[in-house]
């Protein structure tokens, strides 16, 4: 590797192995530093949230946050460690309910759209269609919230009233659909979230369907299967866990959505509202609503308790979704 064997045209910077090696090492160290920062940021996130939440968790029993559905900061007293006024179960309920509703509404549509794009659309419009669906993901949360208040909620009013009139009077089911329906509700939040996670689930489903082996699809068609039979026999069975994973990841996204939900959910914090037509809060919405106005004893610290549980919940859901999706692709590969 002697420099003298290289032609004179080679820039000197390339013929200096020693300096180059040092630069090499420095460059590698820099990229390693970047990677280390990414790792550290997540660990730091967890630690700092715990640190901020600690005063409140020391003052009240840490478990007591999870045994009450009443969030009443004005009842907090600095000195006495009486009953914990910061119950957060209703927020966990709100988060799970709205994101679950979003998932249930979005998944069938996402599967349909992904199937249409991968299996039915003429080849030239596949890409444009994918872009258009992806645009739904590009619209900012705050715009969805604003649109939700003025365009979606008026459109949902007849639907909600209908649900309250019909399902609301069914004996057992009734509690989940009882009126009155004023628009701002878990239901509205669920629908907005469904629209927001639709493109995410669609994108993953598209990828999952795309890797279904074309031999088997061709074989099914050659045996005289209709398109539906081909999809049912050659595409869907292999995609099942991919769809499940996509749904979980979509739900994971919905769990963390904040502004749009805050604008349409009604923000009641005092108890669990059993009806999906009622008003409530999610973990994310209570944080953003009260954070800058938290002036009661342990108020801000308790909001950090909520943030901590939100972090934990989203970690669990996202890692689970990721695991399911990656298992699919390994099966297929």
């Amino acid at each position: 590797m002697a420099a003298t064997t290289l032609s004179a045209d080679v820039p000197p910077s390339l013929t200096r192995p020693r300096g180059g090696r040092r630069a090499d090492r420095a460059f590698r160290a820099l990229t390693a530093l970047a990677a280390a920062l990414v790792i550290v940021s997540l660990v730091a996130m967890a630690l700092f949230l715990v640190d901020e939440a600690l005063p409140s968790m020391r003052h009240y029993n840490p478990v007591s946050f999870l045994t009450s559905t009443r969030w009443a900061p004005s009842e907090a007293v600095a000195g006495s460690s009486s009953v914990n006024p910061y119950g957060i179960v209703q927020f966990i309920y709100g988060t799970l309910l709205t994101s679950f509703m979003a998932m249930v509404l979005a998944v069938p549509v996402a599967i349909g759209v992904a199937l249409y794009i991968t299996e039915m659309a003429p080849a030239i419009i596949r890409r444009p269609l994918s872009y258009l669906v992806d645009l739904l993901a590009a619209i900012p949360s705050v715009v969805y919230g604003f649109w939700g208040v003025f365009a979606l909620i008026p459109a949902l009013k007849p639907v909600g009233a209908f649900l309250a009139d019909t399902l609301g009077h069914v004996p057992l089911l009734g509690a989940a659909f009882s009126g009155p329906f004023f628009g701002y509700s878990y239901f509205a939040a669920g629908v907005v979230l469904a629209i927001m996670i639709l493109p995410i689930i669609t994108a993953i489903c598209r990828e999952v369907f795309a890797v279904a082996p074309s031999d088997e699809k061709d074989a099914a068609l050659a045996l005289g299967a209709t398109r539906w039979e081909m999809l049912r026999m050659a595409v869907l069975p292999r995609s099942r866990s991919g769809i499940v994973g996509a749904s979980i990841l979509g739900m994971g996204r919905a769990i963390g959505e904040t502004i749009a939900v805050t604008m349409v959910i009604g923000n009641s914090v005092l108890a669990i509202t059993t009806s999906i037509l009622g008003q409530g809060s999610t973990m994310a919405s209570v944080i953003v609503n009260e954070f800058t106005e938290a002036n009661q004893p342990f108020h801000l610290d308790s909001l950090f308790v909520v943030a901590l549980w939100l972090l934990a919940l989203s970690l669990v859901v996202n890692v689970a979704g990721k695991a399911v999706v990656s298992r699919t692709s390994r099966d297929i590969a």
Partner: protein
């Protein structure tokens, strides 16, 4: 499509056809419905936004009293630019650097970094905002820098993910050709791998920028907002387009809502422009971006 006759009864065959037709219709309806939904959202914001969007909106700050008509979101547009700028300066080197480490060097901890990147992508941005509040705002107060930091944390994992994918697409032959010429690893990455992947990398950065521009929740906890005047000092609390839309939308005043709609249209336009440029750059990519 299925001209199979076989021995199947005609009734069975036609039932199969009907099911297949039903599927075709259902999928078409679902697709059309989704496009209609997109049109509904964009159309509604477009119509409401155009009622007020104009030169005044883009060159003025909001009136002191939210109930008054007139004014615009210039301070928010400037604030968004500054904070997204700070975020980009933070996120691009860290994001691309991490991708290089994970993909090109695959050194110790690369697997962990890749996994945690995926985890970070899924973390709610409101939690990111609370984190930045804890590490920055507690000590230095609400500021544009804190906002930029939060947005940078949102952007970084997105950039790592796309960059990594783009680096993976660069042909091995190119790297080996460069290394075989006696060119060092670092030089190979900087002069051969990164230029080859450049349009893909730019696409990833632009998409992350578009995402950061629309973020609201983390900014409420870090930059807080400032509706009164143009603030260009990032150590002070700062407004953003998204914060102003939120702030004006939730007032009960029609005048403020008119501003918020114009702001929403502006924001969507900005985000779509960035997304579109990203796609166009990506399509020009030598390695065919997605």
């Amino acid at each position: 499509m299925s001209e199979s006759t076989g021995l199947g009864a005609v009734g069975l065959l036609s039932r199969r056809r009907v099911v297949d037709q039903a599927l075709t219709v259902t999928l078409s309806v679902v697709m059309a419905g989704t496009l209609a939904l997109l049109l509904w959202v964009l159309g509604y914001v477009g119509v409401e936004g155009l009622k007020y969007l104009g030169p005044e909106f883009l060159t003025q700050t909001p009136p002191g009293n939210a109930a008054d008509a007139g004014g615009g979101f210039l301070n928010g547009i400037i604030g968004s630019t500054i904070m997204v700028g700070i975020a980009t300066v933070i996120a691009v080197p860290i994001g691309v650097g991490t991708a290089i480490y994970v993909q090109e060097y695959a050194g110790p901890g690369a697997g962990t970094a890749r996994f945690l990147t995926d985890v970070l992508v899924g973390i709610p941005s409101i939690v990111t905002g609370a984190f930045v509040y804890a590490i920055w705002v507690v000590h230095f107060g609400f500021s544009g820098i804190a906002g930029g930091l939060a947005l940078g944390l949102v952007m970084t994992p997105l950039i790592v993910r796309t960059s990594e994918e783009m680096l993976r697409l660069v042909s091995r032959d190119l790297r080996e050709a460069s290394l075989a010429m006696g060119i060092g690893r670092a030089r190979t990455i900087v002069s051969v791998v990164l230029p080859t992947a450049s349009s893909g990398l730019i696409t990833g950065v632009m998409l992350a920028v578009a995402r950061a521009m629309g973020e609201t929740a983390p900014l409420l906890l870090t930059a807080l907002g400032n509706d009164l005047f143009i603030e260009t000092n990032p150590t002070k609390r700062m407004s953003s387009l998204s914060l102003q839309i939120f702030g004006n939308a939730i007032t009960g005043y029609r005048t403020a809502q008119a501003r918020a709609w114009a702001g929403a249209l502006t924001l969507i336009a900005l985000v779509l422009i960035f997304t579109l440029i990203a796609r166009l750059v990506g399509r020009r990519s030598a390695i065919a971006g997605r």
